[in-house]
C-alpha cells in the first residue's frame, strides 16, 4: 500500500475499500475472466488489428508502405484539415460559451431562465438530426435563405451552406454548450470571497477577472476544450452533409472504405486514433498542472447580481431571447418540416402543404416502423449489456487493493470513449470482417449483432463512469455495517450496493440508450441493409428528398430523448 493516510480520523474511504469487500478468489477470478474476454475481443484485438493491418501490405509486413500512404498529400491534408477544424471549433466555442456563462451565471435578469433551460439543448441532439435541422433552417433552400431571397427578390439563394463557414457554424452551435456548461459550473464553485478579497486589496474588476477568476476557471476551460476538440475530431455528419471541400479524416476514412481503398482507410484510421489519443493525453497533462485546491474550506457562494440599470436589463433580456430563439429555431424548423408532405416543399419560404401522414406512415408502414424497432432493439441490447458490464467492471476495480491490472482495465474500458466512432467502427469491421484466430469461421460483419456490439463498445464507458461515480459517492460504512450485521458478499451486493447505485447507473444507461438510438457515425460504416437504424433512414430520406419523412424521424428521436432526459434527471436527483 502506498497511500500515506493518517491512521484514523475522518472517513478513510479508500483504506476501507481495500480491505473491505475484497472478493473471494473464485469470484474475482470469474469476473477477471469475463472482463478480460470482453476487453480482449472488444477492444484489444480490434484496436491492435487495425494498427497491425495498417503496417501490412498485401499480406506482408510493410511499414514503409504505411509511411508511403501516410505521407500522401491527401492523407496529410485531411489530417491537417481535421486538426484545423477542431482548433477553430474550440476557439469559436470558447468565444461563444464563456461569455454566455459569465452573463447567465453572474447576473439575474428577465429571460435568463428561458435561455438557461435551453442552453444544453444542442448537446443532446443527435448530430445527424441536428445537421438535417440546420439544412432546413440555414441551407441554401432553407427557410432563412428563402425568406431573404423572396424579401429582396434575388434570383438565387443569398448563400450556400457549404464549406468551412457552414461547418464551423454548425460545430459552434452544437458544441458551445461544453464551454457554457462547464464554465458555468466552474463559476458556481469559485469562492466569491476570493474576488472580494482581491477587490478589497485594490484590484480593479478587470484585474480580478484575469488574475483571480479566469485562473481558477482554467480546469473547467481545459476540460471543455478537450471535450470540444475530441467531439470535433470525431464529427462526421456535418462534414458529410455540408462540409463541401472540407475533407476531414472521418469523411476520408468513410470514402476510402467506400472506394475499397483499405490501406488508405486503415492508415487514416490509425492517424485519427493517434491524434485523438495525443490530444487527450496533452489536455489531461495540462489539466493536472492547473488544479487549484481551495485554501479555505468555508467559502461564500456568489449570488447572481440583479442587473440594475434599465438599459443593461433590456439588452441582456433581448440577448437572452435572441439566443433562446437561435437554440430553439432549428428544432422548431424540424417540427414544422416533419408535417410537410414529401416532395411538396421546393422554392417556397415555408413548406406549403401540411399533413400528419409522415407520422402516420411511421406508425403503420411496416418498413418505416421496422427502422424504429431496429434502433430500439439494438440500442436496448447495447444498453442492457453496458449495464451488466459496468457492474462487472466496478465489482473488480472499485473494491480491493488498487493494482496495476485494475488501472489497465480502467484505461482499456475508457479507451473507446476517447476514440472517434469512425475508428471504433472501422476497427471492429476490419477485425471481424473475415475469419480469424479469435472467432474462427464466425464473421460478425453483416450480421444483426455488429451494430449492437459497436454501440456497446462505443458507449459502455459512459455507464461504467456513471456506476463508478455512484460507488465513489457511496458511504463505505453502509457496506461495512451490512457486513458486521452478518450479510455476506452476495447479500451486500444485491441489498446494499445495487439499490443504492441503481439510480445513477440507470441515468447513465438511459443516456446511452438515447445516444445509441440516434447513432450515425459508426452505423453508416457497418450497418446491414436488412437492419437499418433510424439515423441511416434519415440520411437516405434526405438523399431521396423525402424531407418530411426525414424530419418526422428526427422529431420522434428528439421526443424520445426529451422524455428520457427528464426521467434521467429525476433519477439523478433521487440518487443525490
Amino acid at each position: 500500500m502506498t497511500s500515506n493516510r493518517p491512521p484514523e480520523g475522518g472517513t478513510p474511504n479508500q483504506e476501507r475499500r481495500r480491505r473491505f469487500a475484497l472478493p473471494a478468489h473464485s469470484r474475482s477470478f470469474f469476473l477477471y475472466v469475463i472482463v478480460g474476454l470482453v476487453l480482449l475481443y472488444g477492444i484489444i484485438y480490434p484496436t491492435a488489428h487495425v494498427f497491425i493491418a495498417a503496417l501490412q501490405h498485401e499480406g506482408g509486413w510493410s511499414p514503409s508502405n504505411f509511411f508511403a500512404v501516410l505521407l500522401q498529400r491527401a492523407v496529410l491534408e485531411s489530417a491537417a484539415t481535421s486538426i484545423a477544424v477542431s482548433v477553430l471549433t474550440v476557439v469559436l466555442c470558447a468565444l461563444a460559451g464563456v461569455p454566455l456563462a459569465f452573463l447567465f451565471e453572474r447576473y439575474a435578469f428577465p429571460g435568463r431562465r428561458l435561455f438557461a433551460a435551453l442552453a444544453a439543448l444542442p448537446l443532446v441532439l443527435p448530430p445527424v438530426v441536428g445537421t438535417v435541422a440546420f439544412i432546413f433552417l440555414c441551407g441554401e433552400s432553407g427557410i432563412l435563405a428563402r425568406t431573404i431571397q423572396h424579401a429582396f427578390h434575388l434570383t438565387k439563394a443569398p448563400w450556400s451552406l457549404r464549406g468551412w463557414g457552414a461547418l464551423l457554424l454548425f460545430h459552434t452551435y452544437t458544441m458551445y454548450p461544453f464551454f457554457y456548461v462547464l464554465a458555468g459550473a466552474g463559476l458556481q464553485r469559485i469562492d466569491a470571497g476570493l474576488a472580494e478579497a482581491a477587490r478589497s486589496l485594490g484590484a480593479s474588476r478587470l484585474r480580478v477577472l484575469f488574475r483571480v477568476t479566469l485562473p481558477q476557471l482554467t480546469p473547467s476551460l481545459i476540460a471543455a476544450a478537450l471535450l470540444t476538440f475530441m467531439t470535433s475530431m470525431a464529427s462526421f455528419s456535418a462534414p458529410l452533409l455540408f462540409g463541401g471541400n472540407v475533407r476531414v479524416l472521418t469523411l476520408e476514412i468513410f470514402s476510402a472504405r467506400q472506394r475499397g481503398d483499405t490501406s488508405v482507410a486503415l492508415t487514416e484510421t490509425v492517424l485519427l486514433a493517434l491524434i485523438s489519443l495525443v490530444a487527450l493525453i496533452f489536455f489531461q497533462r495540462y489539466e493536472g498542472t492547473r488544479r487549484f485546491v481551495a485554501a479555505a474550506m468555508k467559502g461564500t457562494t456568489r449570488r447572481r447580481q440583479p442587473l440594475k440599470s434599465g438599459k443593461a436589463r433590456l439588452l441582456a433580456a433581448c440577448a437572452a431571447i435572441v439566443f433562446s430563439l437561435v437554440l430553439a429555431l432549428p428544432i422548431a424548423t424540424l417540427v414544422l418540416v416533419s408535417f410537410s408532405r414529401d416532395g411538396s416543399w421546393t422554392t417556397q419560404t415555408l413548406p406549403p402543404v401540411y399533413t400528419v401522414s409522415n407520422f402516420a406512415r411511421i406508425a403503420t408502414d411496416v418498413e418505416s416502423r421496422s427502422v424504429f424497432v431496429n434502433s430500439l432493439v439494438m440500442a436496448g441490447v447495447a444498453t442492457l449489456a453496458a449495464l451488466v458490464w459496468s457492474f462487472c467492471v466496478t465489482a473488480l476495480t472499485a473494491s480491493g487493493k488498487p493494482s496495476r491490472w485494475k488501472r489497465l482495465i480502467n484505461v482499456l474500458v475508457l479507451l473507446p470513449w476517447a476514440l472517434p466512432g469512425t475508428v471504433v467502427a472501422v476497427s471492429v469491421a476490419e477485425a471481424y470482417g473475415q475469419p480469424n484466430l479469435l472467432t474462427g469461421s464466425f464473421i460478425l460483419v453483416g450480421t444483426f449483432w455488429i451494430l449492437p456490439v459497436v454501440y456497446f463498445l462505443r458507449f459502455m464507458p459512459l455507464v461504467v463512469r456513471a456506476v463508478q461515480a455512484s460507488i465513489e459517492q457511496l458511504d463505505r460504512a453502509l457496506e461495512e455495517a451490512a457486513a458486521v450485521l452478518g450479510a455476506n458478499w452476495w447479500r451486500r451486493f444485491w441489498r446494499v450496493r445495487v439499490p443504492l447505485v441503481a439510480p445513477g447507473a440507470l441515468a447513465g444507461a438511459l443516456l446511452v440508450f438515447v445516444i445509441a438510438m440516434g447513432e450515425y457515425v459508426a452505423s453508416v460504416i457497418v450497418f446491414t441493409p436488412g437492419n437499418r437504424p433510424v439515423s441511416i433512414a434519415i440520411a437516405s430520406a434526405m438523399r431521396d428528398f423525402n424531407l418530411g419523412s426525414a424530419a418526422a424521424y428526427g422529431v420522434i428521436l428528439i421526443a424520445m430523448i426529451v422524455i428520457v432526459m427528464i426521467v434521467a434527471g429525476r433519477l439523478e436527483s433521487r440518487a443525490r
Binding site: M1, T2, S3, N4, R5, P6, P7, E8, G9, T11, E15, R16, R19, F20, D475, A477, L478, E480, A481, A482, A483, V484, L485, G486, A487, N488, R491, R495, V496, P499, L500
Partner: protein, 367 residues
C-alpha cells in the same frame, strides 16, 4: 478467561503504524472504552475487532477461539457507526430487520413462524430505544438523535455477542449527547451485553465505561477503571490526556525507599515531599530527574500555615470560567495552575501561599 482478547495486534498503513502491539482483554458483560486523541489507533483497533481490517500481526480471540481470519459477517458482533450508516433505501423497520434477515438461517430466527418472530424482534428493539411506531418512516425523515436510536436498535436486534461503538454520539449536540449516554449505558447493562466503545471524549468514556484503555500513537498506555486512570495516571501521556495536570520537573533528593520521599523542583528550587510507592522509587536513582504531577483542583490556596509543601507564590493571571476559576501562579519560577471555586478575593500580582498536598502528587514513569 476473558470474553474478547487482543494479543499483540499490530497494523500499519504505509509508513504509519496505526496500531502497535496492542493487547487488551475485555470481560463478558463489561462496558469497555477505547479512549485517545484522534489518530491514536482506537478506531483501527475497533475495526480489527469487527473484522473490517485485518491485523498485520497478532491475534483476536473471542470466547477462547481465534477469530483473526474470520470474516466480519461470521463474527456475530454488531457495530454502531459514527455516521450511523443507516441504509437510506430502506425504512426504519427494514433497517432494523436487516441483520435478522441476513442471519435468517440461524435457528433463533427460524423458531416458530419466522416472519412473526422477525416482526416481534424488530418491535422489541425499537421499543428498547424508545422508537416504537416508527417502523414505516424513511430514515432521512428522522432527526439525528432518532437516527442514532435506530442505529442502536439495528445493532441490538440481532442480540450480538459483542456490541461495538465507533464514536456514536459525536454527531449529537451536547445536551442530547449526555442524555443518550445515560440511556445507552442503562440499555447495555439491562441487556447484559458486552460493549467496546471508541471515543476521544474523556468525559463520555468516564460516564459510560467500566474500564478504559487509554491509547496514544497506536499503543495502549494504561488500562483501568475511570477513577484509577484519573487519580493514578501511569505515565505522562495519560496524565496529560486525562484532565489538566501541573507537570513539575524534579529531582529525587533522599535515597531511602520510604513511602515519603523528598524531591527538589528544577524550576523554583522548592523541596517537595511526595508519597510514592516502593517500586516506583526502586527504579528512580537519586539525583535523577523525573516528572511530578499535581491536579489544579488538588492545590490549596492560603491554607493554614505549617502543613507540608507550602510555597510562596504570586498570582500571574486569573481566568474566570463560571463555576470555577483558574489561577496561574508563579512560585519563584515554578508555574502552577490552580482551580478554585471562587477567586473573587484575588487580583493579578497578589502574593499568596500555595499548598501542594503530598498525598496528591503523582510520580510519573517516563513513557
Amino acid at each position: 478467561m476473558s470474553l474478547l482478547s487482543l494479543n499483540k495486534i499490530s497494523k500499519r498503513f504505509g509508513e504509519t503504524a496505526a496500531v502497535a502491539d496492542v493487547s487488551i482483554a475485555v470481560e463478558g458483560g463489561e462496558f469497555f472504552g477505547l479512549l485517545g486523541p484522534s489518530g491514536c489507533g482506537k478506531t483501527t483497533t475497533l475495526r480489527i475487532i469487527a473484522g473490517l481490517e485485518s491485523p498485520d500481526t497478532g491475534a483476536v480471540e473471542f470466547d477462547g477461539r481465534d477469530i483473526t481470519a474470520r470474516p466480519s459477517e461470521k463474527r456475530g458482533f454488531s457495530m454502531v457507526f459514527q455516521n450511523y450508516a443507516l441504509f437510506p433505501h430502506l425504512n426504519v423497520f427494514e433497517n432494523v430487520a436487516f441483520g435478522l434477515r441476513a442471519r435468517g438461517s440461524s435457528p433463533t430466527v427460524r423458531e416458530g413462524s419466522s416472519t412473526d418472530r422477525l416482526n416481534e424482534r424488530v418491535k422489541q428493539a425499537l421499543e428498547l430505544v424508545q422508537m416504537p411506531g416508527f417502523d414505516t418512516r424513511r430514515v432521512d425523515e428522522l432527526s439525528g438523535g432518532q437516527q442514532q436510536r435506530v442505529a442502536i436498535a439495528r445493532a441490538i436486534a440481532i442480540e450480538p455477542s459483542l456490541l461495538l461503538f465507533d464514536e456514536p454520539l459525536s454527531n449529537l449536540d451536547v445536551a442530547l449527547r449526555e442524555e443518550t449516554r445515560r440511556e445507552l449505558r442503562a440499555l447495555v447493562k439491562r441487556l447484559n451485553l458486552t460493549a467496546v466503545y471508541v471515543t476521544h471524549d474523556q468525559e463520555e468514556a468516564f460516564a459510560l465505561c467500566d474500564r478504559i484503555a487509554v491509547m496514544s500513537a497506536g499503543r495502549v498506555q494504561q488500562v483501568g477503571a475511570p477513577r484509577e486512570l484519573y487519580n493514578h495516571p501511569a505515565n505522562v501521556i495519560v496524565a496529560k490526556f486525562l484532565g489538566n495536570n501541573n507537570l513539575i520537573r524534579a529531582m529525587r533528593l533522599t535515597s531511602s525507599n520510604d513511602p515519603v520521599t523528598k524531591f527538589k523542583t528544577l524550576e523554583g528550587g522548592h523541596t517537595l515531599t511526595v508519597s510514592a510507592s516502593h517500586e516506583q522509587l526502586m527504579n528512580l536513582p537519586v539525583n535523577n530527574s523525573c516528572l511530578l504531577a499535581i491536579r489544579p483542583e488538588a492545590i490549596r490556596l492560603n491554607d493554614k500555615p505549617g502543613s507540608d509543601n507550602q510555597l510562596a507564590a504570586r498570582v500571574e493571571h486569573i481566568e474566570f470560567g463560571g463555576p470555577t476559576t483558574t489561577l496561574t501562579l508563579d512560585a519563584n519560577g515554578l508555574k502552577l495552575e490552580v482551580l478554585v471555586l471562587c477567586a473573587d478575593e484575588f487580583v493579578s500580582g497578589d502574593e499568596c501561599q500555595v499548598t501542594v498536598p503530598a498525598g496528591q502528587i503523582r510520580l510519573l514513569a517516563s513513557p
